[in-house]
Amino acid sequence: MSPTTVAPPPRLELDPRVVRKARTLARRLGRPVVDIARSHTTVSVERATLRLAGLAGADHERVPWVNHLVDAVRDQVGLEHGVTTPVWDALRRDEAPDLLTLAQKASAGSVSFRIPEKKGELSGARRAARAAVRPGLQRIDRQRAARDRLVGRLGDPPQRPWVYLIVATGDIYEDIPQAQAAAREGADVIAVIRSTGQSLLDYVPEGATREGFAGTYATQENFRLMRAALDDVSKELGRYVRLTNYASGLCMPEIATLAGLERLDMMLNDSMYGILFRDINPVRTFVDQRFSRQIHARAGIIINTGEDNYLTTADAVEAAHTVTVSQLMNEYFGREAGLEDWQLGLGHAFEINPDLPDSFRMELAHALLARQLFPDAPLKWMPPTKHMTGDIFKGYLLDGFFNLVGAMTGQSILLVGMMTEAVVTPFLSDRDLALQNVRYVQRAAGGLTEDFHPPRDGFIQTRARQVLSEAVELLEKITDEKVAKASGSTPLLEAIGDGTFGLMKRPKDQGKGLDGVARRADGYDNPATTMLEEGTR
């Protein structure tokens, strides 16, 4: 049994044929995108592979050695064969005694790379690369086993949903005591918010960092420090406290890799967020996403998807079905990359305008729909942000209703809402009040899943069916319209290009990070990808 299975929620009586159809359409839309992901590589996929082989650190200007080495290889022989073959070929030709020295020499322009032509040299370089990358995957495996051991010894949180709290000071050494305090106050999952704009950096910063804008940089050292601190507090509390960070952005594959190496437990990883909200090139995103999710799958990391973002830009009633569509796509892409259902932390949020009549009933319908469509997924339930006005008293009530929906519909992970949302970073007392709110609702109404059965064809059942059918209609519309255009087209990319999602038009030949994408040549080799797909230990 997976660690995140939840009690059965109340039934909605959805038509199983419609549900099947939704999944079939999602698969039909997703498959051509997966083909693109499988036939391309990116600078970040290649850098992640070098990180698995143990290349770490940065030069005096804090440019990581993986960036130097990948750039040098790309300039000389291109990315299309993968960097590992030319890199380990150079090492076999004694261009440098080890990987780090090679990267340093390459950054000074004093290494010449080539794609070996002789069969023996080619297979020798590939074998060497595979042998060098494997220990990185083995370390990820050991970290997964360590997590299983710790969860076995210390245990999971006694209640459901798990309580997810955010820490964000910008300084890892301030984050640590705050995170430990939050865990002592009842947080089951600690999320360290990243510095604003890190998703647009085409490198991963190095070392322990003490300055960030509205968040703390995701670095390997910061990951290590925070995980160690939470291990301490887990032992003290007798329950395993999970750690979350963010993979989304230009460095998804690398950050996912670092998270696996340092035993993070959950990662924000959405299939379309970077494209729609950060204007990252769609092809870059899908290639990076697939690799990063393969790593998450291997590492036993639960992904968190970002459907809440749709509702902060569009209306939560009108656009409710776009959340369902995105969840279906995230499920398809996630499973395709090897994630199991217990690793799919699909997201949704309490963002309906509270001034609307029946807003609470609609929230219940939407939350139940997600629960029932994805019964084995650890759904992440996210609090109101758009209608938090600065009236903290009203906001506190709204958070209470949000918590109640979470309890009544069997949500798995609950991001704790703060009444200071959109006002200030929460005070110590605000966090305590927020946790009191969560605990009161869980204590008072946690068992309501047992009694709460929306009546047949009542408001809630009808609304849920309506949202599902709108989702199917949207999926159908994308499939039909775009397929008609040209054979061999990618309907999902076309739809993203013409603004079907989140109001933003993101053509596949535009956006940030496009220059870091390369079509794989026939001889492309990447031992990490190969081993991830084989499941090699």
């Binding site: 002592r184 647009l200 804008f213 830009t313 949302e421 110590l428 007392s429 109001l503 940030k512």
Partner: protein, 259 residues
């Protein structure tokens, strides 16, 4: 209106009672002394009498308090001074309708980080749909067409692109301030635009960054400076004010050159 008193006190449930409610945390373990400390602070804040209605430990070393009380301070309405923003803050909907009504076409904004500055944090916070401080960026506005050129854009490229796109406004972000780079870059940019465009047709030039001084727009040759903490809706509202306002473009131009 003339009968309204110029001196008022807070209103709890009757005129003149001065009642307020405050909450705060002191870094003290919860005990009798902590409660005394809270009342002492309330007294210094002008609450007399002060009523401590709630005290609760926040962990081992902090205590949270809720205090009600009557403040001894008076508010003199005749002495209230406010600095008004010189343009109204509009909702996204109002921004869109105003542009639709007055321009009858999307408003075009070209944004970039110029010079060697690679910090797109600022420009992305204003332009990306993700936005900043809970507000969506300019991309979110259906009537604003955003072209975000990203980091390290050369000034000639920026001018060229602004012309290609028929930009109504150009947004430039400058975070790095080493050796006053932000000032040099901005003046260079505004000079280039004046050179490239016939007088009176230069797009609205806006510079943003945490280290620009208020009131230096004229010296930098730009129409407006936005500082730290500026949100997308402020920029959108300003764009609407400056580009669809009642005053003709020429008037704005003269204003700037004469300043």
């Amino acid at each position: 209106m003339s009968e309204q008193p110029t001196v008022v006190r807070p209103y709890g449930d009757m005129t003149g009672d001065g009642m307020v409610q405050v909450s705060f945390t002191l870094p003290v373990p919860h005990d009798k002394r902590a409660e005394g400390a809270a009342l002492q602070l309330a007294g210094k804040m002008g609450l007399s009498p002060a009523l401590l209605v709630h005290a609760k430990a926040m962990g081992p070393s902090h205590t949270f308090f809720v205090v009600y009380g009557s403040v001894t301070h008076l508010v003199d309405l005749s002495a209230v001074q406010v600095v008004e923003r010189d343009f109204p803050l509009l909702s996204a909907k109002d921004v869109n309708t105003t542009i639709k009504k007055r321009l009858r076409r999307p408003l075009v904004v070209v944004g970039a980080c110029i010079g060697t500055d690679a910090h797109t944090v600022g420009i992305d916070a204003i332009l990306n749909i993700k936005g900043f401080a809970g507000e969506k960026g300019l991309e979110y506005y259906s009537e604003i067409h955003v072209v975000n050129l990203g980091a390290q854009v050369l000034v000639p490229d920026l001018v060229e692109r602004a012309r290609e796109e028929n930009a109504d406004a150009v947004l430039v972000s400058q975070v790095v301030t080493q050796r006053d780079a932000h000032i040099h870059n901005t003046t260079q940019m505004s000079a280039a635009f004046r050179e490239a465009y016939p007088a009176g047709t230069v797009p609205l030039l806006i510079a943003g960054g945490p280290r620009f001084e208020e009131g230096t727009a004229a010296a930098l040759g730009v129409d407006r400076i936005f500082g730290k903490g500026t949100t997308p809706s402020e920029v959108a509202s300003y764009l609407v004010h400056a580009l669809t306002g009642d005053q003709p473009r020429g008037a704005r131009q003269t204003e700037r050159t004469s300043a």
